[in-house]
């Protein structure tokens, strides 16, 4: 598709691929403890999802060499969303993943961009990693999981947003992550289907947090791109959010405008999964409720499969709107204009 693809997955096949970028201490730690990349396995079980490309050649044959060639691709490596909580290990793995992506992918194709992996258990370490490699223009956003111990808008994370802003990075909020006491806001799940869909309500809670904690008042240039969490839920959430804010705004005096205004300005959502109504009339209503497709950016989410909702959606758009969703909005967002 003639597009900027905002969410394509890559992942090392095992920790072995990261060994060149890890110290002897961590190589031993991994080997002796027998640690595997379980986080990805839980999110994308092998029976459900093909393995993400682990090399440039695999990425080329799966995505880059397909006609029509994508204008640009944003790589997401969610290998960093591991279950362990050792902050020192998390920081070392984040650095190794970034170095691996730089040499395995980013150095080999001008069209490639990537999300910067940071520790998701230590703000200090996330800031250090942003300062270490975040200025590299091939990194376009900081990758954060939707599942967290503390919502991302919390003030303890603001130093990371400040560092991201200084490095010219946005925030990429992606499905999955480290489960806390339970992976959903209602408790332990018993099926993968619930885990899979659980990303959508969890992402909603993160949207609330960014606004209610005043993140966009402090960082007016920050944009948050929500990947693989859907978007059909957005309008009703904002109706409720605005209504509640009108009643209890005193609790969050730094929220100066209606919450929906911040969300429309600062959030973008990738188009996979597009879990949408079958009837064209309902699709038109949905687009009207979303105030048009301005907040949507295309993603294939390669190699993951979510059904075939997107073509029906694109059919309901004007030529200009389709162009915006497929690449123009992302080009502005990631400052890819010159390349696109």
């Amino acid at each position: 598709m003639d597009a900027i693809d905002c969410d394509v997955h890559v992942a090392p096949a095992s920790y072995d691929a990261l060994f060149p970028y890890l110290s002897e201490y961590w190589r031993q730690y991994i080997t002796e403890a027998g640690i595997r990349l379980n986080g990805v396995a839980h999110a994308y079980p092998r029976g459900v999802a093909p393995a993400a490309p682990s090399s440039y050649d695999e990425l080329a044959s799966g995505v880059l060499d397909r006609a029509p060639a994508p204008r640009a691709v944003v790589l997401n490596c969610v290998t960093g969303f591991e279950t362990h909580r050792n902050p020192y290990f998390a920081a070392a793995v984040a650095s190794a993943l970034n170095d691996w992506m730089l040499s395995e992918f980013l150095a080999r194709d001008e069209r490639l961009r990537a999300s910067l992996i940071v520790s998701t258990v230590s703000t200090d370490d996330a800031v250090s990693e942003i300062e270490r490699v975040g200025e590299d223009p091939r990194f376009v956003q900081v990758l954060l999981p939707v599942r967290t111990d503390l919502p991302w808008g919390h003030k303890s994370n603001h130093a990371m947003f400040a560092a991201a802003g200084s490095a010219g990075l946005q925030v990429g909020l992606h499905a999955w992550g480290r489960a806390g006491k339970a992976a959903t806001p209602s408790g332990f799940t018993t099926t993968y289907l619930e885990d899979y869909l659980g990303n959508q309500p969890i992402a909603q809670a993160q949207v609330l947090s960014f606004v209610s904690e005043g993140v966009f008042e402090r960082f007016p240039d920050l944009r948050v791109i929500v990947s693989e969490c859907g978007f059909a839920w957005l309008a009703p959430l904002l109706w409720r959010f605005d209504k509640d804010w009108k009643g209890v705004w005193r609790e969050v005096p730094w929220v100066k405008r209606r919450p929906s205004e911040y969300v429309r300005e600062h959030f973008r959502f990738t188009t996979a999964p597009a879990h949408l109504p079958a009837e064209p009339a309902a699709l038109d209503q949905l687009l009207e409720m979303l105030d048009g497709p301005d907040q949507l950016v295309y993603s294939s989410d390669y190699p993951h499969v979510h059904g075939d909702g997107l073509p029906a959606l694109l059919d309901r758009l004007s030529g200009e709107q389709r162009r915006d969703v497929l690449w123009a909005t992302a080009a502005t967002l990631y400052r890819l204009d010159e390349r696109a």
């Binding site: 959903t184 969890i202 909603q204 904690e213 059909a232």
Partner: protein, 370 residues
């Protein structure tokens, strides 16, 4: 001069009225002292020595003004708090808005994770108090059966004890519990409710500790988040097969919003198409179970800038016969029967929401005596 018989029938005609307004979520709230009188000496001793051991949600997320209640909701009577005085509720709700039936949801037992003996007594006390102080006070009040939901065998006993009294129109459950609400652990409660012809009303609140995105900082997030929790619960109820297991089960999702239902249906159906072979017990599309088994109360109904968008959301989720009007008296976000529903909904749909759907669900009489 008219006969005595004619006079009497004229009086009867004057004192009946066609039902026009059913309020499906009204909060009566007992103080601990009010419930203590119904407890055994052992349970009262536990309460006096240790207090309620489960933190209230208001301790997690304080409500910055008037404790989250309507400013005028405090009775000027010693020993009373908001929602504890049936006279004030009658004046401010039933009489002011001509409410024909008000379904009470007493939340005092919703977050009871105490010892099973205590939990059973505590919820029984809630029901006794509801009966003595409210249902016997005005025939417009209808009750819901509070149950010690974490101990389903005891919950079933409580349902059996109350079921003969038709003034209890539903069984009350929280919207968040130790396990997901579709868990087979809770099915005996739903089976008992269904056997006695009662829907199960899941009311926003309960267990706070499930947090996919972590704990929010503010009541604002927590409160908007109640709708998010219910989305997750409904997905679990459908995926867990409880509607297949209990075919007559009717559930009322209370105080969690309504407009999100369409997007959840689409995503459930899409995910089911991708994984249906992994869910052999789900014989039909998830949205069909929702059509058949699920009702929603309106308050706090979403308020889009363009009211027509709410009409879209209701029709997309096929909620026309499933929405039940609710005020949530005496909470701060009370939805007035006169103002809450936008005119865009049209007179027929408004009538369905204001009374017809509730009359059908709860089997309430269409005429009532004044």
């Amino acid at each position: 001069m008219s006969s005595w018989v004619e006079k009497r029938s004229a009086v009867v005609a004057e004192t009946t009225r066609s039902v026009e307004l059913v309020d499906c979520d009204v909060h009566a709230q007992a103080t601990e002292a009010m419930l203590a009188g119904y407890l055994s000496s052992q349970a009262r001793r536990m309460l006096e020595r240790y207090g309620r051991r489960t933190p209230r949600v208001t301790e997690w997320y304080p409500r910055a003004r008037h404790a989250g209640m309507r400013v005028d909701a405090w009775p000027g009577k010693p020993g009373h708090i908001w929602g504890s005085d049936p006279e004030l509720t009658r004046e401010q709700l039933l009489d002011e808005f001509d409410v024909d039936y008000a379904v009470l949801e007493v939340l005092s037992g919703q977050d009871c994770y105490d010892h099973p003996d205590f939990a059973a007594e505590w919820n029984a006390a809630v029901n006794d108090w509801q009966l003595d102080e409210w249902l016997s006070f005005d025939p417009r009040f209808r009750g819901t059966i509070a149950v010690p939901h974490e101990y389903p065998d005891l919950a079933v006993e409580e349902i059996e004890r109350r079921a003969a009294d038709e003034r209890f129109v539903a069984v009350l459950m929280p919207a968040s519990a130790a396990d997901q609400l579709g868990s087979p652990k809770y099915w005996p409660i739903y089976e008992a409710a269904t056997a006695f012809g009662r829907p199960v009303a899941f009311h926003t609140g309960g267990y706070v500790d499930h947090r996919g995105a972590g704990y929010p900082s503010f009541y604002l997030d927590y409160h908007v988040g109640n709708g998010i929790v219910m989305q997750s619960q409904l997905a679990n109820m459908v995926a867990g097969g409880m509607f297949d297991a209990i075919p007559g089960l009717r559930v009322v999702l209370t105080e969690c919003g309504v407009a999100w239902a369409a997007a959840l249906r689409w995503s459930l159906d899409a995910a089911w198409e991708l994984m249906r072979e992994d869910h052999p017990r789900l014989e039909r599309k998830p949205s069909e179970y929702i059509d058949e088994h699920v009702w929603f109360t309106t308050q706090p109904i979403e308020e889009p800038e363009h009211p027509q968008h709410l009409v879209y959301a209701i029709s997309q989720a096929r909620l026309e016969s499933r929405l039940l009007f609710a005020t949530d008296y005496p909470h701060w976000d009370f939805d007035s029967p006169k103002q809450a529903l936008p005119r865009a909904l049209g007179p027929e749909l408004r009538r369905a929401i204001m009374c017809e759907n509730a009359l059908a669900l709860y089997g309430l009489p269409r005429e009532r005596t004044r």
